[in-house]
C-alpha cells in the first residue's frame, strides 16, 4: 500500500524526526518531491532515516561517488530533491548517523545556512527591484502595473524573511557546536 502525505518543513531535523516517527508506525518513505512524501508500508521501525544536503547536485560525479560509498556501507538513498538527499538504513544494523564528529556536523550545518542565506538574498533583491520598479512607474504616472510590482515585491520580501527565520535555528546550532569544538572534538 502506498500513502501520500503533503507537508511542509522548514527544519530538516524536524523533518527527519517525523520520517522516523512514520517509520516507527510502519510507513517507510520511498519518494519525495516538493512537499510531497510517498510512503510504502513496511514492518514497523524497519528503517532509520536521515536527510543530508550535498555539496553538489546528486548527478555530479562527486555526489555519485559519495552516494555509492554510502550504499557500500548499507545506506540507501531513497530520494533526492535538488541537493537534498533522503537516506535510510535498516534499524537492525544499529544507530545511523551520517556525521559523528563536531567538525563534519558544523560543515553540514554551514552548507544549509549558506543555502538559506542565498535564497533569502535572492528574494530580497528581486523583491526590492520589483518595489523600485513599481514606485518609479507610479511617479512616472504611467500605468496600473506599478501596484502589481509593489505587491509582488512585498510578497518576495516576506518570503525572504521566512528564509531568514528558517536559518536562525541552524545558525544557533553552528554557534553551539563551534563553542563545543573549542574544548573537544
Amino acid at each position: 500500500m502506498i500513502h501520500v502525505v503533503r507537508k511542509l518543513f522548514w527544519d530538516f531535523e524536524k523533518e527527519e524526526q517525523w520520517l522516523n516517527e512514520m517509520s516507527a508506525k510502519g510507513m517507510a518513505l520511498t519518494h519525495y518531491s516538493w512537499c510531497k512524501y510517498v510512503f510504502t508500508e513496511t514492518p514497523k521501525n524497519e528503517y532509520t532515516y536521515r536527510i543530508e544536503l550535498l555539496d553538489n547536485v546528486p548527478t555530479h560525479p562527486e555526489s555519485i561517488a559519495y552516494i555509492r560509498f554510502l550504499e557500500e556501507n548499507g545506506v540507501e538513498c531513497v530520494s533526492s530533491y535538488v541537493r537534498w538527499i533522503f537516506l535510510r538504513k535498516k534499524s537492525s544494523e544499529g544507530a545511523f548517523d551520517i556525521y559523528t564528529d563536531l567538525e563534519s556536523k558544523i560543515k553540514h550545518f554551514k552548507r544549509i545556512n549558506t543555502l538559506w542565506n542565498s535564497v533569502m538574498w535572492l528574494e530580497f533583491i528581486v523583491g526590492l527591484a520589483n518595489i523600485l520598479i513599481g514606485v518609479t512607474n507610479y511617479f512616472n504616472s504611467s500605468s496600473s502595473i506599478s501596484l502589481v510590482n509593489v505587491i509582488l515585491g512585498g510578497l518576495l520580501i516576506l518570503l525572504g524573511l521566512v528564509f531568514l527565520r528558517a536559518g536562525a535555528p541552524i545558525r544557533k546550532k553552528i554557534r553551539k557546536l563551534q563553542q563545543e569544538n573549542l574544548i573537544r572534538e
Binding site: L70, E72, N73, G74, Y99, T100, D101, E103, E185
Partner: protein, 109 residues
C-alpha cells in the same frame, strides 16, 4: 615527500582510521574495525568517514589499493608518512597519559 610539519592532536576518528589501515580494508570494514577497537564507543558515521578518507588521501597519509578481485569496493592502506604521523601521535599521547597519571592519577577511586 617532505617531513610532516603537522602539529597538534589527531582527531579520534583519524587516529582510529589510520590504525585500522595498517591492514588494507574498505570503508565498511574500517567502520566495523573502529567500533571493535573502541569496544563500541566510536561509531563513525559514513559521511564523517568519507570526508576523513578523502582528506587523508589528499595528505598522502593513506593510499587506495587494488581491492579483492571482483570487488568494486575501494580498499585503503596507511602510507609510510601516515605511519610517521601515528608514531608522533603516540609520543604525544604518551606524554599526556604520563602527566595525567602523575598529577591526577592518585585521585581516582
Amino acid at each position: 615527500m617532505p617531513e610532516s610539519s603537522e602539529r597538534g592532536a589527531l582527531t579520534e576518528a583519524v587516529f582510529y582510521i589510520l590504525l585500522s589501515l595498517y591492514t588494507a580494508m574498505h570503508g565498511y570494514a574500517i567502520m566495523q574495525n573502529v567500533k571493535d577497537l573502541s569496544h563500541g564507543r566510536v561509531d563513525l558515521g559514513a559521511g564523517t568517514l568519507y570526508g576523513a578518507i578523502n582528506t587523508l588521501l589528499e595528505k598522502n597519509w593513506i593510499r587506495a589499493v587494488e581491492g579483492e578481485e571482483g570487488s568494486r569496493r575501494k580498499e585503503y592502506e596507511i602510507t609510510e608518512l601516515g605511519k610517521t604521523v601515528i608514531q608522533g601521535e603516540l609520543i604525544r599521547l604518551g606524554e599526556l597519559i604520563a602527566n595525567g597519571k602523575r598529577i591526577a592519577g592518585g585521585e581516582s577511586k
